[in-house]
Symmetry: C2
Subunit: 107 residues, 2 copies
């Protein structure tokens, strides 16, 4: 869906920033990240929201590229894309770096 080069496109950058901004959605991502592979049904059990809401948040995380999904029969499994997170972090630092300013004072 998205390229995962060193820096992210503006579109994906914005999608990720928005995806990370909701605490519940972040917690879902955090939970998925805690395992190699996480079944959607367990998320539905563990979070006190409807499965429609879970589905909505997972869709946003997918759209941002922060997770990937795999179907296994009836079940959906989600996996965190740590490379995409790393790319987001790198893009953040790069875009907010002090451009043209020396790291240490030059004399």
């Amino acid at each position: 869906m998205y390229s995962t080069g060193p820096l992210l496109s503006q579109r994906q950058f914005e999608a990720i920033a928005k995806a990370l901004a909701d605490p519940r959605r972040f917690h879902l991502l955090e939970t998925i990240s805690g395992s190699e592979d996480y079944p959607c049904s367990r998320l539905c059990e563990e979070f006190p929201v409807s499965k429609a809401t879970i589905s909505h948040h997972l869709k946003e995380l997918l759209r941002a590229g922060l997770v990937e999904a795999e179907r296994d029969g009836q079940y959906m499994h989600y996996r965190a894309r740590r490379d995409v997170l790393a790319a987001y972090s790198a893009t953040l630092q790069e875009r907010l770096a002090a451009k043209g300013l020396p790291v240490l004072p030059v004399e």
Copy 2:
């Protein structure tokens, strides 16, 4: 892991994530970050939104701790807090790390 700096509180973490999620607000922060010190009046000139909107966004960036402000007579000057950004980045990576999973296969 080396000195990544301290991790952020949940409250600040959420405030930062939300502050970064709006593209216009991010662009303001990006602009401020491009210089050592940025006057509010220049932001008002350079962004096609009212000064009330600029003020609103700067307030959110301040609340998140991503910028600091200083008054100079009539003028307000803003400065990016790169240490806070770094702490956010570190917290992000830490919280979304694969806990209990080896980075490299252990034998």
